[in-house]
Symmetry: C2
Subunit: 287 residues, 2 copies
């Protein structure tokens, strides 16, 4: 999906909700069997119930891989079932090099035709560029995540030395930044905001605000609203733009809105609340 | 597999070779069809031919996921086929948090019963501990990888501030290290050398030597020998211990030793050469 098509969908609906299909077989509604086929049935009902209220679906691959080959089939069939209007994300957080990264790109851009994949930065450019080689697809690089132990490494202070010539004299300048900032800065040289996005957690609204200033045109995929405690209003104030610029993911609050037969109806009700709040924020913040 | 069993296997054979089953369907021998079933047939023949000459097999999940649900089935059947004497590694480089990491642990420790999985450190403790919760399994954390762009982030200089009391006075001490060193240092507090290993690339023998001094008992999984240019002798001089302490992975040089019908025979010949060199190094370096 092109940026134009994504932005058009967001603007026409005043909606930037991504529904996370992180379907845990053990948390399926009580009346459903705990099988891979029931996960597919559940996903289809959730998609039917929520498509009006969102612009994107994100599938976390872990929940499908835990079911083995059957899980992969269900993931493939779920992606096929998502309306073509909706932006599809493989939340796979893959990170490997060269030839191997190219195989992951094939897995999630061709074998299962997602629009986007989340990618981990640790191994550097080699591990990201094979995804960016698909110029009609999107790479969503981990920046600052929403979990507590993001502080372990993402928030480490890193020192970088820049070299330049000042009137013929070699000058070294040391600069300091946080690791996630250094990563985003480097990655923004690899690709523009028409095929690269960043993951920035909802639990970090101040960071979101700073990052929006530095990266006015990049989309941020924002996990952490709902179950993890992030606030939709704070996130939107920090980083909503005229193009949207945000995909705010909500998983558990929608998927597990009810454990009874009315689960799809209750999921729709929660998604509708988010959609309503987003439309209001869109009007209020961008007035 | 316990550390005792792994070390026993290594010492009895004087062998620390891991054969990487990174089977690329497009590189199968000429006479085989380019299908998932042919990948399984190929893997079985490679395992039959090489088991004598190695102690471990590593499966890079990317090559199987590129084939979709069929690829997952082939991965499962390949793991079942590997002799129980051999240490099995899912080279999956997964990195996600809490509940999601637990699903990946389930996928690679239960659904497909590998002995070990490679894990990416970026998101911190939350993303590693759910794997460590399986105390009878192994977590292999990315340290310093063998690729060129490891320098992008893994080799950044990070600053850490330690606080302590010196005769009642609060003292701050700043220390500097490289990112991968800071990660390994922290991770070594999470688990001991009976369930945690580190990935350290063969292309970095000096780093391997320094790391061996700091982590005398941890196993290092070493990619990068062969196609990527690392030297088995240099790696072994830097970090071989009486327990082995190394699993040196070779993939392409063995898998694609021949593109003809003699592929398994030629793979065995290459694996045998490595095994021979390892036995010599074992005798020479540990005399």
């Amino acid at each position: 999906m092109t940026r134009t098509a994504l932005v058009q969908h967001i603007r026409s609906k005043k909606n930037y909700l991504c529904v996370g299909l992180d379907t845990d077989v053990s948390l399926l509604p009580n009346h459903l069997p705990k099988t891979a086929d029931a996960v597919l049935q559940f996903n289809k009902a959730i998609i039917d119930a929520t498509a009006t209220y969102c612009v994107s679906y994100k599938i976390n691959t872990a929940f499908y891989e835990a079911l083995g080959a059957e899980g992969w089939r269900v993931m493939q069939e779920t992606v096929s079932y998502i309306p073509k209007t909706h932006f599809t994300i493989a939340d796979a957080k893959r990170g490997d090099i060269g030839n191997t990264a190219a195989q992951y790109a094939k897995a999630f851009f061709e074998t299962v035709p997602f629009d986007a994949i989340t990618v981990a930065p640790y191994m550097g450019a080699d591990s990201v560029k094979p995804f960016l080689a698909y110029t009609d697809k999107w790479t969503i690089l981990l920046g600052l995540t929403s979990n507590k132990s993001a502080a372990d490494f993402e928030l480490l202070t890193v020192q970088q030395t820049e070299h330049h010539l000042d009137e013929g004299v070699h000058v070294q300048r040391k600069s300091e930044s946080l690791l996630y900032e250094a990563i985003m800065q480097k990655a923004a040289h690899w690709a523009g905001p028409d095929q690269l996005m960043f993951v920035v957690g909802a639990t970090q609204p101040q960071a979101l605000m700073n990052l929006r200033k530095q990266y006015p045109d990049y989309f941020f995929l924002v996990p952490g609203v709902g179950a993890q405690g992030g606030s939709l209003a704070d996130v939107s104030k920090a980083a909503l733009t005229a193009d949207g610029g945000l995909l705010v993911n909500v998983s558990r609050a929608i998927l597990y809105a009810s454990e009874d037969e009315d689960y799809a109806q209750e999921a729709a009700a929660i998604a509708q609340q988010y959609a309503h709040e987003m439309a209001e924020l869109f009007d209020r913040l961008l007035a």
